[in-house]
Amino acid sequence: MPNHNNLVAFITSGYPEKSFTVDLALSLGENGVDTLELGVPFSDPVADGPLIEKANHKALELGFKFQHLLEISEVVAPKVDTLWMGYFNSFYQQNMQELIPYASKIGINGLIIPDLPHEEALLYKELFNANAVSNISFVAPTDSDERIKTIVSDAQKFIYMVAYTGITGSGVAEDLQPFLQSIKKHTDTPVYVGFGVNQKTAKDKVKGADGVIVGSAFIDILLKDSLSYSQKISECSNLAKIIKEEINS
């Protein structure tokens, strides 16, 4: 029976400009990306690595405004399953009571907010639920079993599993299976692995999970000044195709 693992792609909205983001997003949707994370550029993206941080800063320097995210989303969301990924302050400043209904109206299916702890997210649970917008739950390998159980108890759409990355050969950090099982024993919600997922690691990281989230590998391409816009779109789309094949092979 063939696998049906999903690919989530993160791209920085408005980098280098909003029309490019729209073209890239639509192309990714046609090339294996199941869900798109439109990143909201933020000056202090504490959960992201240096590549995404660089893209964020460049987008802000180029004049990114929240309004651009809305304009991009209005075109993309009806065609590709789309989430917003950003830091809470970006959303909070827009007034959550108005933003979430609007997000729902234009077809945004969820928000990923890495700096909004589960306990604080509960304050917005009714707002998200009433508008059929998911607030994606994060689980990290540093969470206790008790905390994992609490976080996943009302998880929606998928669980973002933050994996340790970078340690090889030392055993504990690279073996995602015990961590994955500690999540799966508490929930039937799909678990997608993020952090350190690229063309080389995707096949291994997806084992036992239901999908992968890829960010830096796409952003690395977007930051290459030597490539034209169309080359960047083409390289990102090829990468998406390859990773989608890898995680389902």
């Binding site: 959960a47 690595g49 990290a140 540093t142 969470d143 950090a173 952090f195």
Partner: protein, 133 residues
């Protein structure tokens, strides 16, 4: 009720107090040792000392069931074990990562002192820089 109250409710006061004293000293010493990792003459001594610090935090936090601290200390200990195998000073990227790690442990120190809930681990800390650079 914060982390200190949880500890006091589950363990002997003296054990918790001794842990806090040692933890405080270890957190205070981290930054200097991390900076020294970029100095060739200090590398070996500092990497071994730093390894010992994280090993001790891992053991103590494991005993006291401070799970996020125990798991992050274990992750850092793994990274330092790799660094112990090499002789060259560490890169700026690795220095920055370790300094962020020490900030996290310092934040937990404040949480323990103020009896707050433990600050959540910053996800970016779980991305290890290229240690071979």
């Amino acid at each position: 009720m914060g982390v200190r109250s949880d500890l006091d409710a589950s363990f002997d006061f003296e054990i918790v107090d001794e842990f806090l004293d040692h933890y405080s000293m270890m957190v205070d010493s981290m930054e200097v040792m991390i900076i020294d990792l970029s100095k060739p003459s200090m590398y070996k001594r500092s990497v071994n000392e730093l390894f010992r610090v994280f090993h001790n935090i891992k053991s103590a936090s494991g005993y006291l069931k401070i799970i996020p601290m125990n798991k992050l200390a274990s992750f850092v200990e793994d990274a330092l074990e790799q660094l112990r195998q090499q002789d060259k000073p560490i890169s700026k990227e690795t220095t920055d990562w370790l300094l962020e790690i020490s900030d996290m442990f310092a934040a937990w120190h404040d949480d323990l002192k103020m009896d707050n809930e433990l600050t959540h681990v910053k996800f970016s800390l779980l991305k290890l820089p290229d240690l071979d650079k």
